[in-house]
């Protein structure tokens, strides 16, 4: 199976087939349009002739003698009574007819011109011109040669040729129709030498072959007929089309031989042309597509190949695989980030091939003896589904034959054992937008029916657990397993190559937990501390502190420091930082200045900036400086620690968290009313024409801008008032400030005021004539009439507000749907354009032809996933390493290391209107085959 020499296909050459060759390679000539006789056997020299291969089990191919699946199929052929033009080449035929003499067939260029053209062409080839460049060049040559009045060689006057789509040529002057026969004769006259000038290779394709005299009939294996339940046979579309061709061909031959009138023969000839044309491409413009009896257009050769469901994209670029599983996913915080929980049923079905050798034969014998369904008394044990003997024969292991098979196992056998803990598998969720969408995990076989994984792995897969399904692939060769383990494991992908920061890190509750563990350094007594630490394995518990009363206690920062590497060192500002004008650093009243020295958290709160995914600076540094394994361990430990702390303290949020005191509500309502009044004033002054026009804007635009501004202030003020009254200990506020989930904007909409609803960035304006809803007066431009929601989500929207909110929400949904398909197509194009580029060993980036795209990758050759916020090296690290702690004082570095964010900025900073966290619609066709093919 995996042994022996692996050969590589060096290259593939494309060429046209000459009529002679079609006849030579044909297994049989097809003359009759009938397929099966009355007994249901294929008719000899019919379209289902058994010489062309077999599709029914049990029968043997009459050409090669093989059975189904062994016989590759053989071509047959139809001799066409009259030649017919191949549609695919119609444009090339036209160019050739135009550029060559109608009499002598020479290309209508002088010898010098030909010489010059040929020289240019060979120079182009030498300089590495691609096929497309050459194609365009030859086209130009042909264009140059055409439109000559007189042939320079034989002085024959030329007649212009017009192409009547799709396949008829006419001579312009007398409207004489060129029959395919005449076309073929003309093409025959073109010399090989001239063909080379026109960019063709006469050895692979003579132009007259483009006018068909024999039609190759694909093997039956290409167009199998299907037997329906009723016993009726249903033929493939290609067979249907070939039947048509044969019928007309037969009639044409009969009529021609009988000496029928020219008109009838020509009609039949044209009909044959139509059938052959649609046989190749049923979407040729200018002719009606051939249809099935039911009215469905037939899927002929070109349709089989092209498009998303075509052969190329659906069967050749993407292939179906065995040894894979798919099921719903669910979370398991107790799994390591590089594990995946696989249900028993799936594990019993998925197998790993193991080669039997003298070292493992005893173990494997025992395994085989267990059979495919070992008892579950002592937990899950892998069984064996198949044994493959050294001669390649497969034996299915069953309960009954397990003992026997296990005894017969010998060296050089391969057994397919079931999945067990520790196996390397690939785990994937569509859409696979980046390489982190498919990572290698270690299997952990467990009960249940879902795949389970650590919550930290959600961001790279973009997964949640509202019914998402994921795929799992079991690797089948040692080479693949080795590659997966070294390159694809989750911990190897903690740092995203997109921005050089961690994409896997603590999320949601982990961050809240870490916040409570470290913020303002709480104290834990022995019981609490041990409760929190009991979630961790193999740790050294630091010595406790002693408080004034002589009691032992541990501080939160102490506990957090347990999971940090020993000599870890960093400084940064936490997410809760208030961005004061003057930073008090260690004395920060919000405990937002994080300082770690020698693996001890000295001050500061750990939140999303410390350990969060995409922002976590501690995480980022560990992954870069201590390696992937250490980073994985850190994530596992820190999340467990954080959850421990959270469980110790207890945390919940609910609708009560958005309660604000009555005076606050009143304050908000008052301010809202003030703003609404202000808007009314603006509208009034607009209507009376006294509104000062802003430069470059119309009166109406000026009004809109000013109104939007006022109403924006209203919402912000409501948010501010609400935020003030909610207080910093409010669970919802804690989550927002620590960066766990939600934002202050969300909160202010819940507690304060929902704010202006917008469509296309403007106030709502459409609906009824001159008004949004019939509840308002025509022409009302006031705040409420144009979509301002002064209520909060909690207090409840009024009916009109509710309606406006739905309008804004709908826009968001439409936006999402459009966006997925657009960006999908953009990415397909990007990948297709860039997929072949690689970094060669001389440091340049080149494509397949060897053209240098970049002389040094990214101008410094640095891997983005290894950069520090995009910088090749981290200066702080550098100075810290060389100068130690004196760096700051020695170099007077005042405000370094505050560091910018990775990943995305806060949503509310970006957007005026809220973006609902809408579900992405993966199932929507993300493909735009822009334009026509």
């Amino acid at each position: 199976m995996m042994r022996g020499i692996t050969k590589r296909i060096g290259s593939i050459k494309f060429s046209c087939v000459s009529p002679d060759e079609i006849r030579r390679m044909s297994a049989t000539k097809i003359i009759t349009a009938d397929t099966y006789d009355d007994e249901g056997y294929p008719i000899e020299m019919g379209l289902m002739d058994p010489h062309m291969g077999v599709i029914e089990p049990g029968l043997r191919c009459k050409t090669c003698g093989c059975k189904v699946d062994e016989c590759p199929g053989h071509f047959g052929h139809i001799d066409l009574a009259m030649p017919v033009i191949h549609v695919g080449f119609i444009k090339d035929i036209k160019l050739m007819l135009e550029s060559t003499c109608r009499n002598c067939g020479r290309i209508m260029l002088t010898a010098e011109q030909i010489e010059a053209r040929r020289d240019d062409m060979s120079e182009m080839k030498d300089l590495g011109g691609g096929t497309i460049d050459l194609k365009n060049f030859s086209k130009e040559t042909a264009k140059d040669a055409s439109n000559k009045g007189v042939c320079p060689y034989c002085s024959t006057e030329q007649i212009k040729i017009k192409l009547d789509k799709p396949t008829t040529f006419r001579e312009v002057d007398d409207n004489h129709k060129l029959t395919p026969k005449e076309v073929r004769e003309r093409l025959e006259r073109i010399s090989d030498e001239d063909l080379r000038t026109l960019g063709m290779d006469p050895a692979t394709c003579r132009p007259e072959w483009m006018v068909l005299t024999a039609l190759a009939v694909p093997p039956v294996t290409v167009r199998p007929s299907i037997t329906l339940d009723s016993g009726d046979r249903s033929e493939d579309d290609l067979t249907h089309k070939l039947v048509d061709v044969l019928r007309i061909n037969q009639r044409l031959r009969e009529n021609r031989d009988a000496g029928a009138p020219q008109l009838i023969v020509e009609d039949l000839w044209e009909l044959l042309q139509y059938h052959v044309t649609t046989y190749f491409d049923n979407q040729t413009s200018g002719i009606p597509p051939a249809r099935h009896r039911s009215g469905r257009p037939l899927k002929t050769l070109a349709q089989r190949l092209k498009g998303k469901e075509g052969r190329f994209r659906s069967n050749l670029s993407g292939k179906r695989v065995n040894f894979s599983a798919r099921t719903v996913i669910s979370p398991d915080p107790l799994l390591s980030i590089n594990e995946v929980g696989v249900p028993f049923i799936a594990a019993r079905e998925l197998t790993v091939p193991v080669h039997v050798n003298e070292h493992n034969i005893d173990k494997l014998r025992k395994m085989v003896a267990r059979g495919p369904e070992p008892p579950m008394d002592n937990g899950y044990l892998p069984g064996v589904n198949y044994v493959i003997r050294s001669d390649g024969r497969r034996i299915r292991v069953t309960e009954r034959n397990a003992e026997e098979v296990s005894e017969n196992i010998d060296i050089d056998y391969t057994i397919e054992r079931q999945l067990m803990d520790g196996d390397v598998v690939l785990f994937n969720r569509q859409p696979s937008l980046h390489r982190m969408s498919m990572m290698a995990h270690r299997v952990k076989v467990m009960e249940g029916r879902t795949f389970r994984f650590n919550l930290c792995d959600c961001p790279p897969y973009n997964a949640d657990f509202d019914g998402d399904e994921m795929n799992l692939h079991v690797l089948q060769s040692d080479e693949a397993r080795a590659e997966a383990r070294i390159l694809m494991q989750v911990q190897e992908n903690i740092l995203s190559p997109r921005y050089g920061g961690p994409i896997i890190g603590a999320i949601h509750d982990h961050i809240t937990g870490a916040y409570f563990l470290t913020h303002k350094n709480p104290r834990f007594d022995r019981f609490e501390a041990m409760d929190i630490l009991s979630k961790l394995k193999d740790i050294d518990v630091p010595l406790p502190m002693i408080d004034e009363e002589g009691k032992e206690y541990w501080t939160g920062k102490q506990l957090f420091s347990i999971v940090l590497p020993d000599n870890f060192r960093t400084t940064f500002k936490a997410n809760i930082c208030q961005n004061c004008d003057f930073c008090k650093k260690e004395d920060c009243e919000f405990d937002a200045y994080v300082k770690v020295r020698n693996g001890q958290l000295l001050c500061g709160t750990i939140d999303t900036k410390g350990i969060g995914n995409s922002k976590g600076k501690i995480l980022d540094r560990i992954a870069r400086d201590y390696g992937a394994e250490r980073a994985a361990r850190f994530i596992n430990e820190v999340t467990r620690l954080a959850l421990g702390a959270l469980m110790n303290r207890g945390f919940s949020t609910g609708i009560g968290d958005e309660d604000i005191p009555e005076e606050a509500a009143l304050q908000i309502a008052n301010y809202n009313q003030e703003c609404i009044n202000e808007v009314s004033e603006l509208v009034e002054s607009y209507q009376s024409g006294t509104l000062d026009q802003m430069p470059g804007r119309s009166h109406r635009e000026t009004l809109e801008v000013r109104v939007m501004k006022v109403l924006g202030q209203a919402r912000d003020e409501a948010g501010r008032v609400a935020g003030k009254h909610l207080g910093l200990m409010n669970p919802a506020v804690v989550m927002a400030k620590a960066g766990a989930r939600g934002s202050m904007l969300n909160l202010s909409q819940m507690a304060g005021c929902v704010g202006q609803q917008a469509v296309r960035g403007e106030r709502l304006s459409r609906g009824y004539w001159n008004r949004t809803l019939p509840h308002f007066n025509k022409g009302d431009l006031g705040a409420h009439a144009r979509g301002f929601c002064s209520n909060s989500y909690k207090s409840g929207l009024s009916p009109t507000e509710f309606f406006f909110h739905a309008m804004g929400g709908r826009e968001g949904l439409v936006d999402t749907a459009v966006r997925t398909s657009r960006s999908g197509y953009m990415q397909r194009r990007l990948v297709s354009a860039l997929e072949d580029l690689k970094l060669t060993s001389d440091g340049t980036v080149r494509n397949t032809v060897g053209t240098v795209i970049q002389f040094k990758y990214g101008e410094d050759g640095v891997d983005p996933s290894r950069t520090v916020r995009g910088k090749a090296i981290d200066l702080d690290d550098l100075f810290a390493e060389v100068l130690g702690d004196d760096a700051d004082t020695l170099l007077h570095i005042e405000d370094m290391d505050t560091g910018e964010d990775y990943g995305s900025r806060e949503k509310d900073e970006m957007e005026y209107t809220e973006e609902e966290d809408g579900e992405e619609y993966d199932d929507i066709d993300t493909d735009f085959e822009g334009g026509s093919e």
């Binding site: 296909i9 060096g10 593939i12 494309f14 060429s15 046209c16 695919g88 080449f89 090339d92 691609g130 096929t131 497309i132 290779d201 692979t204 394709c205 190949l305 190329f312 670029s317 937008l433 190559p497 921005y499 050089g500 802003m694 804007r697 657009r822 960006s823 953009m826 990415q827 990007l830 990948v831 297709s832 860039l834 997929e835 072949d836 580029l837 690689k838 970094l839 060993s841 980036v845 397949t848 053209t851 795209i853 990758y857 990214g858 101008e859 640095v862 983005p864 290894r866 090749a872 090296i873 100075f879 060389v882 020695l890 170099l891 007077h892 570095i893 990775y902 990943g903 900073e909 093919e933």
Partner: protein
Amino acid sequence: MAKKDTFNALVNREISDEVAELLLTKYNTLSAISAASVEELIEVGLSEEAAETVLSKIGKRTTRKTAPVAKVKKAVPELKSEAMEEVFRERTLTAAEIKLKEMADAAGIFLPMKIITDIAGVIEKADLSNEIYEKLIATAGRMYSSHLMDKNESTGVMAAHSLGEPGTQMNMRTFHYAGVANINVTQGLPRLIEIVDARRVPSTPSMEIPLIGIAAEDESVARHVASEIEVTSLLDIASVETDITNMRLMITPNTRKMALRGLEADDIVDKLNKVKAVRGLVRMSDFQIVITSDEPSYKKLQMMYDSVKNAKIKGIDGITRAVLSKVGGSWKIITEGSNLKEVLKIEGVNANKVMTNSILEVAEVLGIEAARNSIIHEAMGTLGEAGLDVDIRHIMLVADLMTNDGQVKAIGRHGVSGKKSSVLARAAFEITAAHLLHAAMVGEVDSLEGVTENIIVGQPVTLGTGAVNLIYTPRKGENE
């Protein structure tokens, strides 16, 4: 109808009625006549002389056809004779930079100049010993080399993913320009698509024009520069009426608006006299400008009105609006519409810092290197605006690929993907059948070097771990 128009046109060109009639027996349109040769005209029944005059009178087309060719030929040697001024703007290295560079060279450690500059920037102020310098270099060298990208890495796929994945997180809306100006600029996903598409004209072309000298300081001067740039059409500064009884157009200039744009009534007359439809018919009368039609035809009057109404009086073609904004104490102009070539000629414009978002215009005016930088700048700006962080190296690679052969090529079927060397890869992307047929015709060979081709035939791809091979030559007698 058409014939009648042609007849009028011929007569307008001072061709006698008889000749015109003769011509119309065979030809219907002016262009048909101009396309005909002298011989053909003689056939119609004209004398040779008459035929030639006819052609010369209407024959703008024939003369024009040859004129530009001659010009091009002339222009080529001109270009050669005029030696280009070579502009160097070498950055002088600071003392610390030179010192670091020398030490690095001496130690045989390669460091990109950026790192050296960064380090130098920090240590300049501090007084450090040579020993520390050396240590810095060694450490930096170690860090740098450990951050290098692995060989055979599929950098392209990485870049494509890094650019494509955030696309799903961007939004589809266009935003108002940040700042005072109410100028719409396409942002988000549509803009990103536009950049990789290498569209000839972006959907919202826009320029940012910093001013220099007193224009940067003085608002009124800046306003003047802006008025030079913004297109002023006649309707912006005057009202136009048609006087049907006298068959004329009455233009009443608005003095206030004219003063604002620094225009005089005479300027308008001059400009209008250059407009095709009313050439030579414009004159001043009191405070009005009068255009009297030379033909007693309402059609002509209407035509005149239409062409006068939108006549450009001042400004640069394509720039529909120019708005001033003050950034960092100096004035700059933000425009709707873009015309880099002309803007650079305007006085008061800081030509070194003018930006346009039209990439192809940059390529035309400033060259391909500038276009490459423009792609990077625009793409980074778009992603940054959406709050997404993408490493600049990925965008550089895309920009380099797009500009690799000296022209800005689109990412897609008409550009990079359509020019791939492999038939199978092209067929798998788009327009499958055409690529296969053409390959068969010219006998193309697919050497299976890229990713798609190898996936199609089912063998390992040539990137990453697939790029290396282990070759083992068994030595004789080793195993026997």
